[in-house]
Amino acid sequence: MDRNKISKWLKEPDKMSGKYSLWALYFCTGCGIIEVPPVLTSRWDAERFGVIPVATPRQANLFLITGYVSVKTLRAIIRSYEQMPEPKYVVGFGSCPINGGMYWDSYNTIKHLDKYIPVDGWIAGCPPRPEAIFVAVTHLWTLIDKGMAKGYVKYREKYELYRRNQEKVLGTLEWPPLFPIKDDGK
């Protein structure tokens, strides 16, 4: 550990510790999830980056969405995302969450994930290689360092817009709003 790093640790321990201990919640949708077990186990060993899988959204701070998102899955994704403690980061894995991918004209998959929850980074590919997860993680480190991974802040600030989009596609939501909704007479 060089002196630069130590001074960083002393100056902003929240950022540094958040960087090096990303606990990931893998949302097992679609084909991208097949790429994830090799990443966690002996072949590509994600634990050396501090990335470990956790079983519940309460403990996680990295949300990996691996594959296409159907309307029914979106409901579960939103509920899991709102249970995660802040600061939290979302990475869309594969081309399906970006713009629908090969399901661009399907009647039942939502096309753009970032219309419903904020996404900090994308991994393109159909499906991407396991190494791409490490590229995403190291890129996320840079984003956290520069203070650009602020998806959760955006979610808090524009919650009514997100909630309106979610209600448009899902109908009525059976859970109460996470943040108070400002009624600006619209």
Partner: protein, 133 residues
């Protein structure tokens, strides 16, 4: 091919002959002939053979007796067909939604359901959330 009214008897006779495993109930939308084709796939463990039974019903009035009295495991397949093709299975105990979350005017697996128009109307209408500049 079997007639719609006869389907239960035909299924029963096949079951008694040893084709006692219903693998699948499926449907084909023959839009030019204005018909739905319901496909029953039966197989036999003893003979190691597969039998495919087909029956046609009209598109305007898609009704067919449920196969549950003969094969109990037809229940989820028929629910799925009811949801995706809008076929009414008479005598089915619960034709509730199984897979889909949204309501569709035309069941989405019918040939006259225009997916691209639907996508354009529903999913593309939802606005992006822009960053403040």
């Amino acid at each position: 091919m079997a007639k719609k009214e006869e389907i239960l008897n035909v299924l029963k006779s096949f079951r008694d002959k040893g084709y006692d495993h219903l693998e699948m109930v499926s449907c084909v939308d023959r839009i030019k002939e204005n018909k739905f084709e319901i496909v029953y796939i039966l197989s036999s463990y003893g003979e190691n053979e597969t039998v495919i039974l087909k029956t046609a019903i009209s598109r305007e009035n898609p009704q067919i007796p449920s196969a549950i009295p003969v094969f109990e495991n037809a229940e989820p397949y028929e629910r799925e067909l009811h949801e995706l093709f809008g076929i009414d299975f008479e005598g089915h105990p619960r034709l509730t939604p199984l897979l889909l979350e949204r309501k569709y005017k035309i069941p989405p697996f019918r040939k006259d359901f225009d997916t691209r128009k639907y996508v354009k109307e529903v999913f593309d209408e939802i606005p992006f959330i822009e960053d403040k500049k």
